[in-house]
């Protein structure tokens, strides 16, 4: 086996953001399905939640490339 | 440990080397399998739409119905919904892109061809370069070079000293990250999908060559390969759609009056 443990760490670090993104989308779709007129209210919140979750995954990606 | 002793030989997992093909004739890499698949896709798409549109009638035949279905899907739900009133100019480009990517992706699960040519990074990069040139050209022609770059790089309503921090990020997003992610998304999906199918088919083949107990287990491996082929069909259609949709969104963003 060759390779670095950093890649394994990146794989592990994507689990949390993956679940988080799924939860954000699930809540967003649920909210729109129940109350379509609330879309304008929900959209910024969904964007913010997605950005916060995705930032963690991308920090993991950058660190996996840099840390040896 | 148990499986290692049971298996007759060492299992060699599929790797990136499985995506390299020897030239079919001659020495040049230009005559290898992916290039032929791309050429075949052009012939297939062209002949399908020529045949389906040749005997166009008011009451469409089944073939004409299929061709018009694909066209109206691209025109209405990608072109018109995203780009807006000026969409008709871009429909030929979007339609070509969609059918080309879709056909080349579907080669991944068609028996005997079984290689998505978009899993070689060169083809998605070439398509992303097309998109890149088109949406910047459209934006520059619509706004003028100075205003277009200014709109991208300098966001209004921000204190002046913050531009030092924000402008590199905005510039990189529009000129580097967007085309790079556009091509990488398609490439990575096709590469991973083909690798996944290879793991199960090669694994099943390897199990079939060993003891009787593992021969029975190989049924599950082949069954997984067949099931994942249907899954891959969905992914391939979705990636063709997303590629075209993002192209349309970038064109719409370049045409919009404010970003």
């Amino acid at each position: 086996m060759t390779g670095t443990m950093a890649i394994v760490g990146f794989g592990l670090s994507t689990i949390g953001p993956g679940v988080a993104t799924g939860l954000v989308f699930a809540a967003y779709i649920n909210g729109i399905a129940r109350q379509p007129e609330a879309r304008g209210l929900l959209q910024p919140i969904a964007f913010l939640g997605f950005a916060l979750a995705e930032a963690l995954a991308l920090i993991g990606l950058v660190l996996a490339f840099v840390l040896k | 440990m148990l499986t290692e002793t049971l298996l007759s030989g060492e299992f060699e997992p599929p790797s990136a080397a499985d995506f390299q093909f020897a030239p079919i004739f001659g020495d040049s890499i230009l005559f290898s399998k992916p290039v032929f698949l791309v050429a075949l896709s052009v012939i297939l798409i062209a002949s399908f739409f020529i045949i389906s549109a040749r005997k166009a009638a008011i009451v469409p035949s089944r073939l004409q119905f299929a061709g018009e279905g694909v066209y109206s899907f691209v025109r209405n739900s990608i072109g018109q919904d995203v780009i807006g009133p000026e969409f008709m100019r871009f429909v030929p480009f979007l339609f070509t892109l969609f059918t080309f990517v879709l056909c080349n992706n579907l080669f991944g699960i068609i028996p005997f061809l079984q290689f998505p040519s978009m899993s070689r990074i060169g083809f998605p990069i070439a398509l992303a370069v097309f998109t890149y040139v088109v949406y910047h050209y459209v934006g520059i022609k619509h706004h003028g070079l100075k205003k277009y770059v200014k709109d991208i790089c300098f966001m209004p309503g921000v204190p002046k000293w913050i531009y030092v921090i924000l402008t590199p990020v905005e510039f990189a997003t529009y000129f580097i990250v967007r085309p790079a992610t556009l091509s990488l998304r398609l490439f990575a999906n096709m590469f991973a999908g083909h690798l996944l199918l290879l793991v199960f088919t090669l694994g099943g083949e390897h199990l079939l060559a060993s003891t009787i107990f593992l021969k029975i287990l190989s049924i599950f491996s082949f069954g997984f390969a067949v099931g994942l082929s249907f899954f891959e069909f969905g992914i391939e259609c979705l990636q063709a759609y997303i590629f075209t949709l993002l192209t349309a969104l970038y064109i719409a963003g370049a045409l919009a009056d404010e970003h």
């Binding site: 910024p44 964007f47 950005a51 995705e54 920090i59 | 995203v82 949709l245 993002l246």
Partner: protein
Amino acid sequence: MAVHDEGAFWSIFGYLLSGLVIWGGIGHFVDRWMGTHLFFPGGLLLGISSSFYLIWMRFIKAK
């Protein structure tokens, strides 16, 4: 309208990625050049905060 949502989500992804890569990369090369270890984490923080600022201004405040 759902397609515009999807475009916005990919744009957010692009902003986050480019902020981290640009400022983290600058910090990384400054660290290599000066032989320090502080500029890379600082660059990452600056990058992520500038991305969040851009996302806030473009997608959340504008709504």
